[in-house]
């Protein structure tokens, strides 16, 4: 368990953060750029110093202003993977990787080195200089270097931001491996919604130097603070599902969740696998009666539990279909259907709208 309660002043910027992160899994630190995410990670790593407060990792106190404790960064055992990699340009990949090995017991070093090199697939790069590496290779080496310093916690500050989509897809499985196989707690700094839905279990929202919410991902990501943090375009509902059946003949997957079943295209999943599905509010339509003769595959019946400002240009309707599902429709449609709270309606979701999310959000427990 990482517990943080600090206040810091960095130039003109004031930061006040209070949150706890579990001792396993990925905790996402989410906020706009300039919100203070990097300052906060620097403080956790010991590279910046708060003016007051306390930071503890498990039973190790890293910072305690009241008792004048400030463990220097080299004694914190916190691995830090930076946005720009920060490999040492004058050292080979091998020397970069070995830089932090001193913290491991001597007899374990060689085996661990080989294991990490193997895991990240960087054996062919060992004798190269960082200059001769691609962006994705650099980040893999940076991950390996941090991993080999024997950290108790891994800080990853938007490690994918500098990479294109293909390189991102190359790195993400390694991060999932760290989370699932190495059981290393990770603080994942990001402003990318898809990334955190795929990786994180716990979410800390930060806005203008303040932590506005923190808690389990599903709870926070479907709450009002997250919507305030992302802007309307990304509004939607994240649902945790399990792969219940694969319909190879129709190239469809059936996902079970607490409100029933969703059908999504593609069968590139395994039975029993857990998947998070991000349903955009704008992809949900509302019908008063179950429709006939329609191509939309997913029809979920539920009660309206909330309607946003009915005079806005568009109207957000919350429907309890087992989970609270958010639908965004025009003001005209809302009036036409005379929607009101307590009414039973049918939420329609095109399977194709879940194409990308359904596959990308693979999340194994």
């Amino acid at each position: 368990m990482l517990s943080v309660d600090i206040a810091a002043r960095l130039g003109d910027f004031e930061l006040a953060a209070r949150f706890e992160a579990p001792s396993s899994g990925v905790t996402a630190l989410f906020g706009r750029s300039g919100a203070g995410k990097t300052s906060l990670t620097n403080i956790l790593a010991g590279l910046e110093r708060p003016i007051r407060g306390r930071i503890a990792l498990g039973d190790r106190v890293l910072f305690d202003a009241a008792n004048r404790v400030n463990i220097p960064p080299d004694k914190r055992q916190i691995g830090y993977i930076f946005q720009e990699g920060r490999l040492f340009p004058h050292k080979t990949v091998r020397a970069n990787l070995a830089y932090g090995l001193g913290r491991l017991a001597p007899e374990k070093r060689a085996a661990r080195f080989d294991q990490v090199v193997d895991l990240l697939g960087i054996a062919p790069l060992l004798e190269r200089r960082p200059k001769m590496l691609s962006g994705g290779e650099k980040q893999r080496v940076a991950i390996g270097r941090a991993l080999l310093s024997g950290p108790d916690l891994l800080l990853m500050d938007e490690p994918l931001t500098a990479l294109d989509a293909a390189r991102r897809a190359e790195i993400l499985p390694y991060v999932e491996h760290l989370r699932d196989a190495e059981k290393l707690p990770i603080i994942w700094v990001s402003h990318d919604v898809d990334e955190i839905i795929r990786l994180a279990d716990h979410l800390v929202l930060i806005d203008q130097g303040r932590v506005t919410a923190s808690g389990p991902l599903i709870e926070i990501i479907n709450g009002p603070d997250f919507r305030a943090a992302t802007g309307r375009r990304e509004d939607g509902t994240v649902i945790e599902t399990t792969v219940a059946a694969k319909d190879a003949a129709n190239a469809l997957t059936h996902l079970r969740f607490s409100g029933g079943e969703l059908r999504v295209p593609g069968v590139n999943v395994t039975l029993g696998q857990r998947l998070r599905v991000h349903i955009m509010a704008k992809d949900v339509a509302i019908a008063l009666d179950p429709p006939h003769g329609i191509s939309v595959l997913n029809c979920l019946a539920g009660r309206i539990v909330g309607i946003s400002d009915p005079d806005g240009a568009d109207v957000d309707v919350e429907i309890d279909v087992g989970v609270r599902l958010r639908a965004r429709i025009t003001r005209y449609s809302a009036r036409l259907l005379a929607l009101k709270e307590g009414q039973t309606v049918h939420a329609l979701i095109k399977a194709m709208a879940l194409d990308r999310t359904g596959r990308d959000m693979a999340h194994s427990p």
């Binding site: 960064p73 930076f82 960082p130």
Partner: protein
């Protein structure tokens, strides 16, 4: 070499090289330390220190030589103590000449190292800290290697400046054949004598060759170093 050079010429050449070498040896550690202080630390007197360090660039060399005499002469503030305690004096010795050219070359050396230190990405040092390196290890394994091209440049500048040093040297340690008569001083001496034109030309060409070899050598070294550093 004795076939090519007269005894006077080879004596001045060897002395010049010896003085220049020792000038670099004594000023390098102090130069690195000063550059680090100026580049990385903020303290009262920062401006004063940098003014003192850079002063020899603008002060007439004769003034520097005179100040050295006042400071390190046998009756000077530090010189008297040195003589009374250890029985050593640097006035009228080649060691004194090395000190004079070290002071004159110091600003060039500090400037080169400081620029190089400023160019080191501090974020790499932060990264090294998170990997478990203490301040000293970061300095030795990250900062110093990345500053190496600047240190080399500074050393070469000080070396070359020493080869050409005249005013401070002649004021501080005089012009003693075999002891303090470096190439420029030898050139000056032959010009004072009738018929000194021919030997003066030879000495001038010798000085020129020496400078070119030193600069070319350092350029080659710098190229290899940059390749090593991967920057």
């Amino acid at each position: 070499m004795s076939d090519l050079l007269s005894p006077l010429e080879s004596e001045a050449l060897i002395l010049s090289l010896r003085v220049a070498l020792w000038c670099v040896v004594i000023s390098l550690p102090i130069g690195i330390g000063t550059a680090w202080l100026l580049a990385r630390k903020r303290f009262p007197g920062h401006l004063l220190l940098s003014a003192v360090v850079y002063a020899p660039l603008v002060v007439p060399p004769v003034v520097v030589g005179y100040l050295l005499l006042v400071l390190l002469g046998r009756r000077g503030v530090v010189g008297a103590w040195l003589y009374d305690t250890f029985g050593i004096t640097v006035v009228f010795t080649w060691q004194g000449a090395a000190i004079a050219s070290a002071v004159m070359g110091f600003p060039l050396m500090v400037r080169a190292i400081r620029l190089s230190l400023d160019a080191v990405d501090r974020r790499l040092e932060d990264a090294a800290r998170t990997l478990g390196a203490g301040r000293w290890r970061v300095w030795v394994s990250i900062t110093l290697p990345l500053t190496a091209p600047g240190i080399l440049a500074g050393a070469v500048l000080a070396f070359a400046r020493s080869l050409g040093e005249f005013g401070a040297t002649i004021t501080f340690v005089s012009n003693i054949p075999g002891e303090t008569r470096t190439l420029p001083l030898a050139l000056y001496s032959v010009l004072q004598q009738p018929g000194g034109d021919a030997p003066a030309v030879r000495l001038a060409i010798l000085s020129l060759l020496l400078a070119i070899v030193a600069i070319a050598g350092s350029e080659l070294l710098a190229r290899r170093m940059r390749k090593q550093l991967g920057v």
